[in-house]
């Protein structure tokens, strides 16, 4: 069952954040989607179907794994990994696309579109489209198409059309613009599967609802395996879907600190990063009000991160609310620290993390080192790193 908490409010706001900052053409579609979602999120039959898909198609529950060798090596708190990397298609993204595909079917749409950065959301969208026999178009920045070639081919194998986006910085934000344009142009036939907890209401809410299975399971598992709640939660934040998925069911457990890890790229002082919560300010982008990175004229900045999935100048509005309320703390990990964590986890535990998730692992290691051995740090290992093998090899000057 979903947490029926009061956020967002009826107009889709988390405090001052969120909302529906879109062109008039989309307002009716968003209203329809919202009406459907407010009903379905409490509909036992729909929720049952979603749970079944999570169990038998996605392969849930994902384990909560005690990374003992890593913990020993760090010499501090015990590090627990929520293994979203073991889901079908290799990341948490499938939780959301399975849910939204059911929603698309309910709304009678036979064409789905998606934007993707690292390609995980694109693959997860193409996967559910193949399964339900829907037409699927995925928008992807040209830069990301280059650095995530394997995922591009996976999407094509699944029958999706991958459209290259060359405008702006040719990364995730531009793919999102282009998907929005497609949606405006094909609003009658098309369902837009947004991949993160951003965009206009009700997307931040429904993507959170679908991903909250991560936190619900983790909360249950840590209590079953360790008899108590953890001493910290850690998750990486691009748009913020895996982090919200982990955090949301713990929001009322105020004794559990939550850390969202943004991409510090080449260093926060270099300006080449993707850390809107750490360094940015409030503005309006992609249909919602939230923290973002822009210049003094309000133009959105190009971002940089070694991980395509974190390379985004905005962030979901619920994170902005969590930041201002003090319930969650947001920190940043740079490219090098993330790569070190990638190697460390691979060598100590035999688990190859996605570069996105490596940011969370890196911060968890830093945090764990300051804590005693009886403490528990629960990290969302949001995806596996197979897709990043080429990027890592390239960075180390290795020809594959």
């Amino acid at each position: 069952m979903f947490d029926l908490g009061s956020r967002p409010d009826a107009s889709g706001h988390f405090g001052e954040y969120g909302g529906k900052y879109v062109s008039e053409t989309l307002m009716a579609a968003l209203d329809d989607l919202n009406k459907a979602w407010q009903k379905l999120r409490k509909d036992p039959e729909f929720l049952n179907e979603f749970d079944n898909d999570l169990n038998f198609y996605v392969g849930r529950p994902s384990p909560l794994y005690h990374a003992k060798r890593l913990s020993e090596k760090i010499g501090g708190a015990q590090i627990l990994l929520k293994r979203e990397d073991l889901n079908h298609t290799g990341a948490h993204k499938i939780n959301n696309t399975v849910g939204q595909a059911l929603l698309a079917r309910y709304l009678g749409k036979d064409r789905v579109i998606a934007e993707t950065g690292a390609g995980q959301h694109g693959v997860a969208s193409a996967t559910v489209a193949a399964r339900l026999g829907m037409q699927c178009v995925v928008y992807m920045g040209e830069v990301d198409i280059h650095r995530q070639a394997i995922n591009v081919y996976r999407m094509r194998l699944l029958g999706a059309e991958v459209r290259s986006v060359t405008s702006g910085s040719a990364t995730l934000k531009d793919a999102l613009n282009e998907a929005m344009r497609d949606w405006v142009s094909n609003v009658d036939s098309t369902y837009y599967i947004i991949g993160t907890v951003a965009g206009p209401h009700p997307y931040p809410q429904l993507v959170r609802d679908f991903n909250s299975v991560i936190g619900r399971e983790a909360r249950r598992q840590v209590q079953a395996q360790f008899g108590r709640l953890p001493d910290a939660l850690v998750a990486c934040v691009g748009g913020g879907s895996n982090a919200i998925g982990l955090f949301h069911p713990f929001v009322d457990d105020t004794e559990v600190p939550m850390y969202g890890v943004e991409a510090a790229g080449r260093g926060l002082e270099s300006g080449q990063h993707a850390a809107p919560l750490t360094t940015g300010r409030v503005g309006v982008l992609h249909g919602n009000k939230s923290y973002l990175m822009d210049d003094d004229n309000g133009q959105i900045l190009h971002t940089h991160s070694v991980s395509a999935g974190l390379d985004y100048p905005g962030v979901g509005p619920e994170h902005s609310w969590l930041k201002d309320s003090g319930r969650a703390e947001y920190v940043a990990i740079d490219d090098k620290e993330a790569l070190d964590a990638f190697h460390l986890l691979t060598r100590t535990e035999g688990i190859l993390p996605a570069l996105e998730s490596s940011h969370a692992v890196a911060y968890a290691c830093k945090l764990a080192a300051t804590m005693s051995a009886d403490k528990l740090v629960l990290v969302n290992l949001s995806g596996r790193g197979d897709k990043d093998v080429h990027t890592v090899a390239e960075l180390e000057g290795i020809q594959l």
């Binding site: 008039e24 579609a29 405008s167 344009r181 142009s185 609003v187 959105i300």
Partner: protein, 274 residues
């Protein structure tokens, strides 16, 4: 002359003459950073009744490739909301009559601060503001600040807008209503055709508000402009003009392009309405 008066008297005169307003759109700062004021005067000389001036934004979600690229070029030339307001101010030195509408996205206004923006826009001589990604539900603060200085926040109606929303949009609307003539982005299609359903929506909005209704998006030549001129009180032409201007290398060339582009459109519109 107060701002709201300028829009009102413009449409009053046109109604008396039974003419449909021609509203060309240009992206400020394209094709040259410093040619926009000259181009604005050329637009008026070529028969424009109202000018829509685009504020370049890095992520224009409702715009097709033509205006996206024009925005990118303008931003590279250093064009910003501040320079756009300066353009309007300079235009007003020699034109007190033609209403100017700024069109763009919310974040640049948010960054300047809504109060500061309202004050500066009024001082520059802006008559209306059309923010694509700010529907009435999210516009309460900005709209009231603009109203206080006599600037209209132009509201959009789309082919997908429900009857219920039309009433919400109509409430407290000022200036004119902008009807989005196609389900899509700016510059799409091959000359949008008017249809009975659009005619009905335009009529409904006119009745609900008592305001003129402009049609835009996808209207690109004399034929489509004349077509919509019979339904709407104003016709907006953007991407087709921006495409023409993009090829120009000097202010003089741009002004000539404006003249040759708008003249047949003006004639075609007047032929069907008068």
């Amino acid at each position: 002359m107060s701002q709201q008066y300028r829009l009102k008297s413009c449409f009053q005169v046109l109604a008396e003459q039974q003419r449909t307003a021609l509203i060309p759109f240009i992206t400020a700062g394209d094709p040259l950073a410093d040619a926009s004021v000259d181009i604005m005067h050329a637009l008026v000389d070529a028969g424009a009744d109202v000018i829509e001036l685009g504020i370049p934004f890095s992520d224009p979600m409702a715009d097709g490739p033509v205006i996206q690229l024009a925005s990118e070029r303008a931003i590279e030339r250093g064009v910003s909301l501040r320079t756009v307001l300066q353009d309007v101010h300079n235009f007003r030195q020699n034109n007190q009559k033609t209403p100017v509408i700024l069109m763009g996205y919310l974040n640049p206004l948010y960054r300047m601060g809504f109060a500061q923006f309202a004050e500066s826009a009024a001082a520059a001589g802006v008559d209306g503001v059309l923010i694509v990604d700010s529907p009435p539900e999210e516009s309460v603060v900005l709209e009231s600040l603009l109203a206080a200085v006599g600037i209209s926040m132009i509201r959009l109606v789309a082919p997908t807008t429900t009857a219920e929303r039309m009433r919400l949009i109509a409430a407290e609307a000022t200036g004119f209503i902008y009807y989005v003539a196609l389900k899509g982005i700016t510059g799409a299609g091959s000359g949008a055709n008017s249809d009975a359903e659009s005619g009905q929506r335009i009529k409904t909005m006119r009745e609900l508000t008592g305001l003129p209704v402009a049609a835009g998006f996808g209207i690109k030549d004399a034929e489509s402009a004349a077509d919509w001129a019979q339904l709407a009180d104003a016709v907006v032409i953007g991407s087709a003009l921006v495409t023409r201007l993009a090829e120009c290398e000097s202010s003089g060339q741009a002004c000539e392009a404006v003249k040759s582009f708008l003249a047949p459109i003006r004639i075609a519109m007047d032929n069907v309405t008068q």
